[in-house]
Amino acid sequence: MPSSISISNDRLWPAPWLRTWITSVAIAVVLIGGWEGFWRARGFVPRRNDDVGWWAQERGKVYAGGTRSVVLLGSSRMQLGFDTRVFAQKTGIQPIQLAIDNDPGVDVLRDLANDANFNGTVVCELMEKYLVWIGQDSDSSQANQWLRDYHASNVFSRFEWRARGLAQTSLAFRLPDLSLQNLVTNLRQRRLPSSEPFYIAMNPDRSKSADYARTDLDRLKAFHEADVQEEFAHLPQLSPAEFFTRSKLLTVWVAAIEARGGRVIFLRFPSSGVIWQLENGRFPRPEFWDPLIKVRKLTAIHFAEYDTLKDFTCPDGTHLDYREAAPFTAAVTEIMLQKQLLPVNASR
């Protein structure tokens, strides 16, 4: 080794290392335990982060039920608007929640279509605007990143995901609310972070429940309306013909799943107020949704077509409150059962 390169071993000095480390670990345990105890005493409760590890664990469950598996795909609308407990009570089937916040879900549908081992039922949230980007396989999309991690996973990564999940559900201080930035932001206002639950709660199966009574609804609604307006301002214009051409991929994916004995049911969740006006204005149902479903022969449920669905309102314009999600899901499930869309032996 060139003499210019020094080696740490040569610089070691005699020190009471055993005493030092025992003391250090003891102090660290007290510090960490005290930190955890402090936040627990203030009402913070550990919860799992909605991350790739959790999603991958759920993704791995789609095969166990065979044709009786029911998989939910879509965005936060599916996570918030589909009450999995109600569905399970009515059908005897516990659905697998693979919806990803802020992601349309079509990439996951493509993945299930290409998975020769999957032959269950997919309930996939569908909105007209998703077809603008369909097939463009953005590397940066959350779904594609998580799919890559899932398919590249091995025993080590799966162990790591489980270990991280265990840490998140055991330790309150792992909550994002207690990050350094959040702490400093609150301390500058001479207060500590509040343990008042966020208006959206994560459920153990990756579904979510929103209680809009807990939030500043006017502000939230204004935020979502501005967000959708901004999105539509940058959304490429699509003629009905172009829209129809792009939708061909859906039929390919649906055919792949149905060829294996599975089924794909598309579900259009309610939108309300200004947001529904924007969406319906850009994609009028008679020009986009209706021809899409009819000509492509897709199985679909549009909230506006059913008396039992059309009167649900979204407090923020885009998502259902948990009080509405339960009856909405019950009504949708009843429609699916009446049409015999669900796996055989689903209860009535």
């Binding site: 080794m1 060139p2 210019s4 390169i5 020094s6 080696i7 740490s8 071993n9 040569d10 610089r11 070691l12 000095w13 005699p14 020190a15 009471p16 290392w17 055993l18 005493r19 030092t20 480390w21 003391t23 250090s24 670990v25 003891a26 102090i27 660290a28 510090l31 960490i32 930190w35 982060n49 590249a152 091995n154 080590f156 990564s157 162990f159 790591e160 270990a163 991280r164 840490a167 998140q168 201080f173 792992r174 994002p176 207690l178 990050s179 350094l180 930035q181 400093v184 932001t185 500058r188």
Partner: protein, 477 residues
């Protein structure tokens, strides 16, 4: 499997336990080798074949080189080793880049050429372990070392897990003798080894990922909207991030090896306090800079062929050093800038023959070198723009914003700015205070109870840091 993961903690504890069981030294080395292959396979099992191929080719080539005294034959086996290793590196790392550049040139010349983009996955660590095996073969060729008699020892040199995926780049001359006699950490090595692991994890998890990466990502992910202040903050943040990320990894690697009784070379030595660029490269990624010096710069002729050839050798070494980091013109520009700095420094030394003496530590006269150190830091900061930006175009956009007045549009809060400035200032001051010292010398002066408290706080900070799991930056190389 990264060092900052639960999986690695469990893996390392098992390896440590096995290493302390009463097995023979040969069995212990075999255990370490198997563990190292498992460590590598955790990323992508098929790539173990490439690692194995490199290991076996250079084992045989080195033996063949040592068997003969005929220059032609020795050169032939060396060339086989070079072609095999550099060919692998070239295919996996530079195949797509070369094709893309060729397509660019062809289209510029008027040819309509649009081949399908190749889908080549880069085996993790290939840049590092090919350099280890190459240095082994070259050292045997130069008769610096004899070929190893033990394949197990040689395979350990290439594959030993602490250094396998991101260095430090080991040399056979210093590592192979350590494999001859049984090695087990004594109390000092175990104690300081774990200390280095904790310091390394703190640098990576808390400083790099927790404090600096979010700012760098925000700025470099939205270059068009960044203002002047934001461009500076983002670049300062990345400068700190890459140091703490890579130094953190190196300390973990050195510490893990030390816990197993092995000695690794230092890889960083307070580079933010470098005075001049020769000094910078004696402090930054030392194992790579010395490798480039010993096997590339010296092979090209070094400084033995006159000033013009010296400058050319310097520039070529730094350009290739830049390219080693990644298959992109950004890294070539990064290397080119460092080459330019080194040439300019050499030229200035020629104009002012009296050397700038760095006074002994502790003297007030050291203070007059601070402006030079800050100038060095500033010029290196400019090079990091090319390292971090997504494209050459983005890099120039950021630089333009840094040197003009553009209002900010990203909304980087005062908290983020304060964090970056405090961490940067703290790092500069810390590096300057200990630039001629070492972490060991610093802690040797601390009473044991203070050391215990410091490490307890570091462990608490690591445990409570947000779980934003980012890969080590140098894994991408």
């Amino acid at each position: 499997m990264v060092f900052n993961s639960w999986t690695f903690i469990v893996f390392f504890l098992i390896v440590l336990l096995l290493h302390h069981l009463p097995f023979s030294w040969k069995v212990k080395k075999f255990n370490l080798l198997v563990a190292s292959y498992i460590f590598y396979a955790a990323w992508n099992p098929p790539f173990v074949v490439i690692l194995w191929f490199t290991t076996v080719v250079d084992w045989f080539m080195a033996r063949q080189i040592a068997k003969t005294d005929r220059i032609g034959e020795r050169r032939f086996y060396l060339i086989v080793s070079l072609v095999a290793n550099l060919g692998l590196l070239g295919f996996f790392k530079y195949g797509a880049f070369l094709l893309e550049s060729f397509v660019g040139v062809a289209n510029f010349a008027g040819f309509d050429f649009h081949p399908a983009a190749p889908s080549i996955v880069l085996p993790i660590g290939i840049s590092f372990y090919t350099f280890v095996t190459l240095s082994y073969t070259i050292d045997v060729y130069r008769r610096v070392i004899p070929p190893s008699r033990s394949f197990l020892d040689y395979a350990m040199l290439v594959t030993f897990f602490p250094h396998l995926v991101a260095g430090p780049i080991l040399r056979a001359e210093s590592f192979l003798p350590q494999c001859v006699e049984p090695r087990q950490a004594d109390r000092r090595q175990m104690g300081w080894g774990w200390a280095l692991i904790v310091i390394g994890l703190f640098e990576k998890v808390v400083l790099a990922d927790g404090m600096l990466a979010p700012v760098a990502d925000q700025v470099y992910g939205a270059v068009a909207r960044a203002g002047t202040a934001e461009a500076w903050l983002g670049t300062l943040a990345f400068s700190g991030q890459i140091f703490f990320d890579f130094d953190g990894y190196s300390l973990c690697a050195i510490g893990a090896a030390m816990c197993l009784g092995f000695a690794f070379p230092d890889n960083f030595r307070f580079p933010c306090a470098a005075v001049g660029f020769s000094d910078f490269w004696r402090r930054w990624h030392i194992s790579l800079s010395t490798w480039l010096r010993d096997y590339l710069y010296v092979s090209l002729g070094g400084n033995r062929k006159g000033p013009v050839r010296t400058y050319a050798n310097l520039m070529l070494t730094m350009l290739l050093g830049g390219l080693w980091h990644g298959a992109s013109w950004r890294f070539v520009i990064w290397g080119g800038l460092h080459g330019t700095y080194l040439i300019a420094e050499r030229g200035l030394r020629g104009l002012f023959p009296r050397p700038v003496k760095v006074p002994r530590p502790g003297r007030w006269s050291q203070l007059r070198l601070i402006p030079l150190a800050l100038l060095t830091y500033f010029l290196v900061l400019i090079t990091w723009v090319f390292f971090r930006a997504h494209s050459v175009g983005d890099a120039f956009r950021i630089l333009k914003k840094m040197f003009s007045v553009v209002p900010g549009g990203l909304g980087l809060g005062a908290f983020s700015a304060a964090v970056v400035l405090i961490v940067t200032a703290g790092t500069l001051i810390w590096h300057w205070c200990v630039r001629d010292s070492s972490l060991e010398q610093v802690f040797a002066r601390c009473p044991w109870w203070l050391t215990a408290i410091i490490f307890a706080i570091l462990i608490w900070a690591i445990a409570t840091a947000p779980g934003d799991n980012r890969a080590f930056i140098y894994f991408h190389f």
